[in-house]
């Protein structure tokens, strides 16, 4: 796992400043959505061998939620973006 994380706001920072929430789940369904979508969103998580997208919170820094893409096999981190971009795109 990464020892250093490149926060898009703070730059390269030690892993200890971050808190990991887990896999980026499916988007939060609409209130009226099918229950199956809700179960998937709330409970179902993958544990892939390879590329993995996770929520990392820069809890000891800027306190922004980030989406970090890392390879569980090679430990390579390929991308770190502010998590608001998931919904807002580049506007964030």
């Amino acid at each position: 796992m990464s020892s250093l994380v490149k926060c898009p706001h703070c730059g390269l920072r030690p892993r200890e400043e971050f808190t990991i929430r887990g896999e980026v789940a499916t988007p939060r369904p609409d209130a009226g959505a099918d229950e199956a979508l809700w179960f998937d969103h709330v409970y179902l998580r993958d544990n892939p061998r390879g590329e993995h997208r996770e929520y990392w919170h820069h809890s000891g820094g800027c306190r922004r939620w980030l989406v970090l893409t890392r390879n569980t096999l090679t430990h390579e981190t390929s991308d770190v973006v502010d998590a608001s971009t998931l919904k807002l795109g580049e506007r964030a």
Binding site: S2, T77, S84
Partner: protein
Amino acid sequence: MTSFRIDGGTLIDRNDVRRFTFNGEVLTGFGGDTVASSLLANGKQLVGRSFKYHRPRGILTAGAAEPNALLTIGRDGRRDPNTRATMAELFDGLEARSQNCWPNVNFDIGAANGLLGPLLGAGFYYKTFMWPAAFWEKVYEPLIRKAAGLGRASYDPDPGYYEKCWAHCDLLVIGAGPAGLAAALTAGRAGVRVIIADEGVQLGGGLIAEGSPVGGKPADAVLADIIGELHALSNVEIKKRTTVFAAYDDQVFGAVERVQKHLPEGEINPHRAMERLWRIVARQVVLATGAEERPIVFGGNDRPGVMMAGAMRTYLNAYGVAPGKRVALFANNSQAYQTALDLEVRGIEVAAIIDPRTCPNIDYDGKARLIAGAMVRDTAGRKAIKSITVRHDDGRDEVIAVDALGVSGGYSPIVHLACHRGGKPVWSDAHVGFMPPENTDGMTPCGAVAGKAGIADCFADGGVAAVKALAELGVMGEAASLPGVEQTAETVDHIQPVWHVASTKGKAFVDFQNDVAASDITLAMREGYDHVELAKRYTTNGMATDQGKTSNVNAIGILAENKGVSPGEIGTTTFRPFYTPVSFGALVGASKGMDFQPVRKSPLHGWAGRNGAKFVETGLWYRSSWFPKDGETFWRDSVDREVNTVRTKVGICDVSTLGKIEIFGADAAEFLNRVYCNAFLKLPVGKARYGIMLREDGFVYDDGTTSCLGGNHYFMTTTTALAAGVLTHLEFCAQVLWPELDVRLASATDQWAQMAIAGPRSREVLSKIIDDDISNEAFPFLAAREVSMFGGRLKGRLFRISFSGELAYEIAVPAGYGESVADAVMAAGEEFGITPYGTETLGVMRIEKGHVTHAEINGTVTPADLGMGRMVSAKKDDFIGRVMNLREGLVDPDRPALVGIKPKSPSDKFATGSHILNPGEDVSLANDQGYVTSMCHSPTLGHAIGLALVKNGPKRHGEEVVIWNGLAGTTVTGILCNPAFVDPENEKLHA
């Protein structure tokens, strides 16, 4: 006692005589000595007993790989067990003791294990201590524990200070032998930021022990020139006594620097670290860790006096210590011949060089007798070697009397750091060793770790490696060169692998520290554990504190030989941090004692202390739990008085630890509406509202009040325990789920001192310090707004909320004003009989009132379970937890729900955690009706009361139940009731 100290020794200072004790005996050495070199100088070849068979053991190496010479050094809190004598610097007054022997190293009872040798082979523990199962706890485990283990840790606290640091550089050079020095010089001259780290006391590595001139100059003079230049380069940082022990992701390296471990007690600066744990971030790395000389596996190869040939050379040239008076060498390579030459130069007799190669083809012109095509098959001597038995190529045996034997079975590149990130080393037939992985991204191996040999080749290779690393950094560099040294064509020594001397007679050890013999490895193979990872665990080869530095490759070789394959096909076990053991002190750093974790003190901590508070740790906080008065000897005396005073008069309680979050933004109301399950959209300015926050899975997460202080400004309070968790959750909601909402969050927990003033006289007390009208009409229940205090000198935030059920307020003032405001409240309340009260009283009053905390909000309850089902909005389209809260299992009417409980007989008591059963039913999970979540003695009612989560509880008020305490083995008859024991009509609140 014969002295083995002779002339020379580049590292020692003969004017600096140091006294030390070894097993109580006073000995002397010199400044610059290690404990190992000074023991050898004093003729102490026997330094310890082996782990399993308690065989006599001596010093094998002169460095970090030492498997035998593990001593306990120091005393009391500064006692370090399992210290390698070869790495410990000698200081005046040092105390060293042998380990694993009783009553002493010379006469050891456990040596009887040696006679049981045939029984104690690989897998012995697995096979013997299997049955009967009942024997495990009482017989086998204590027996194994007594026999196992090396040194013992001290029970005294270490008085030393330890610290952790970060360092950053362009190029990290690991190892300061010829290759590392050349790399550091090359990069240093190019101007980049360089850190060069070496585990040794002095830079130099192989140069330190080099007896021959380099480029026509003495080796130590060449070394001094290089070190002088490095010191002069301000961009080069030299870290001596620093072991780089791990390579982590993203080019972060772990290192431990031994700052003051080599100093006598009186010279230790208490304000400086004993050891420093470094994390070094390097853009590029040059790996110049060298190679480990391998022992050869033959009978009696563990007898004291058997030593690595290269270690002999180091003791001779660097410490001026003769390994013996009549020495033999057993080597399958040509480098060991240099040891023979150096011994002879110092006048030490070299009795023979035994070389398994039939045609060694080396240019050795010394006096020693060369026995080619031969092997050492056995040694003799009780506590030290007396002779060796050589098996000639014609099958004839010859006994040669010696008092020391130098061994060299080839060289294993120290590839650990190149493999910590998952790389697998690659076998090389030419080098007879495992080389660094081919792809070591950002790391360039050079020198002996890359298969080079000799000062000149290693130095040249270091320069080349640095130029390559510099190019990666976009910097041009020119490889440093050694003056006067002509670069010769690189020659690879022909090494003949010898994994195990076939004609061996006695026990032939592979792993000295764990007492694993060649026969154990072949036994493991016969029993099917022939995979390298299985063989390791079955035999424990390589599992000792030295992690098999001298044994792993030989074990792999023996496996390969027996299977008829290349060692490359067997492969290595996995390399993991740490390269060498790191002390707990260094890993703990400053986090010990009161610095183990941060201490959070409320802004009212000093006030509470002055009023006699007893504090309790809750998480990081120290909260005032009760305030004993004179004559009160038992906590309940104080708590009962505090409760009665608040219920009849008035009290003040520090509630500053509650989480406080400022919420701003045009969409703040909409945001709150979505994170709470109850409605918040229409909360008017100047009003507080109790809110319940659900998790997305529909269960209750936290509760608290949120007040609207202005159009786009809200102030939220959370429970103390979840202050950080709720903020993180809200940030997730604001940033990830609904980034389109205009909302900003800021923690304000530490910025405000907040106190509850509760009791029927609370309004009268506050009226004396608050300028605004706070009558029931002007400031009704749930009013919340900024007020002027002390004649306009201070502004505070006043909330009319109540956890106790009394007429109550909470007043928040900027933290720095907290103590003086609390003092002012106490002074204003004096005429009404005010009392400070703590968390115990807070707890009693909330139970009396039927208010819940995290004892009830335990992660498995819904708002309906807590009797607040009607708060969950049916009108709102969406909020966190809305959909999942409607799941079938979460709306089941039979779910355990909040109910009050009291003993049928008022004198009976019961305990939190007790289970509820219907009268007459057996104690079983199937019959379980629920459990008591909270209980206390109610001073208001005069008997025990509790809250419980009971199946269908709210419909069972008045029902008789059994309160079963399985731990105490008691049962009490209880009655279920309304959880609001006091003022169920809420008249006091609204007074």
